[in-house]
């Protein structure tokens, strides 16, 4: 697998109180399905990110469990409400125990 896993999040940094905004996330990861074979016919073992969560000021808003049917470099878009200024935190959980994190501060104007 590519050694560098880079999470990316795109969302506005400012919002009106109570506004609903779309969050787009992308992470570079092979999401090896466990179905593929290498050149000599051996199965390549499964290695995926199996969970993604989004929290706002520590409270969970949204989470999703992923299976091998998710494409490589998983793209996930969803919606959040911004009740007040605060920090959104996004976490990807790799099957091997690694977690990848990204955060975004949003200011209510």
């Amino acid at each position: 697998m590519a050694s560098k896993v880079t999470p990316r999040v795109r969302m506005p940094a400012t919002a009106k109180a109570g506004e609903i905004i779309e969050v787009k996330t992308l992470i570079s990861h092979d999401m090896e399905s466990g179905q593929r074979k290498d050149a000599s016919g051996n199965k390549i073992p499964q290695h995926i990110i199996n969970k993604f969560t989004a929290t706002f000021n520590g409270k969970e808003i949204f989470s999703v469990g992923w299976y091998p049917a998710i494409s490589a470099n998983p793209y996930q878009a969803f919606y959040v409400r911004v009740p007040e200024s605060g920090t959104f935190e996004f976490t990807w959980f790799d099957e091997d125990g690694t977690t990848y994190k990204a955060e975004q501060k949003v200011t209510v104007s």
């Binding site: 609903i20 399905s33 179905q35 593929r36 074979k37 706002f56 409270k59 969970e60 808003i61 949204f62 989470s63 999703v64 469990g65 992923w66 299976y67 091998p68 049917a69 998710i70 494409s71 490589a72 998983p74 793209y75 996930q76 878009a77 969803f78 919606y79 959040v80 409400r81």
Partner: protein, 154 residues
């Protein structure tokens, strides 16, 4: 080699090849899931309640040229308040080696039970979305996608 043994060798070759092909196709069939697997999963979620139609908008291309990257978009109609919200949404692909695609969990803090993702589809098949509401109601919908190139390696 005389002609008799050549014919026999050929017959044996044909028989073994035919057997090999039969084994291959049967093997390939058992690897992939079926619509019954999806029904079993929906039953496990819904229990005695019959899944209702409506409220879910499931958006997928009618024809996907590349099964490795198929955009999927869903939205479930709901006020998303403390008393009435969408608890979870499950995506199943009945023709993949593993039926499960994604399990979404929403909370009253999520303003919309909607998301977009890109999925893999091994072959032409129906993709199902099942939504569980906070009051226990279950909604289900299905959409067929024609896949030109399958997306599960092999």
């Amino acid at each position: 080699m005389n002609s008799i043994s050549a014919a026999r060798t050929r017959r044996i070759f044909l028989q073994s090849t035919a057997l090999g092909i039969l084994a291959l196709t049967q093997g390939a069939k058992s690897v992939l899931a079926s619509a019954a697997d999806v029904d079993a999963l929906i039953k496990a979620i819904a229990g005695d309640r019959k899944p209702k139609e409506g409220r879910i908008t499931l958006d997928l291309p009618t024809i996907a040229e590349n099964g490795l990257v198929v955009p999927l978009n869903f939205e479930v109609e709901s006020p998303m308040t403390e008393s009435d919200f969408v608890k979870s949404v499950h995506i199943y692909a009945e023709g993949n080696p593993n039926v499960r695609v994604a399990d979404y969990t929403f909370t009253p803090l999520s303003p919309k039970a909607a998301a977009q993702i890109r999925i893999r589809l091994a072959q032409t098949q129906s993709v199902s979305a099942v939504a569980v509401m906070s009051n226990g109601d279950v909604y289900a919908t299905k959409k067929e996608v024609k896949v030109t190139i399958g997306g599960c390696g092999g």
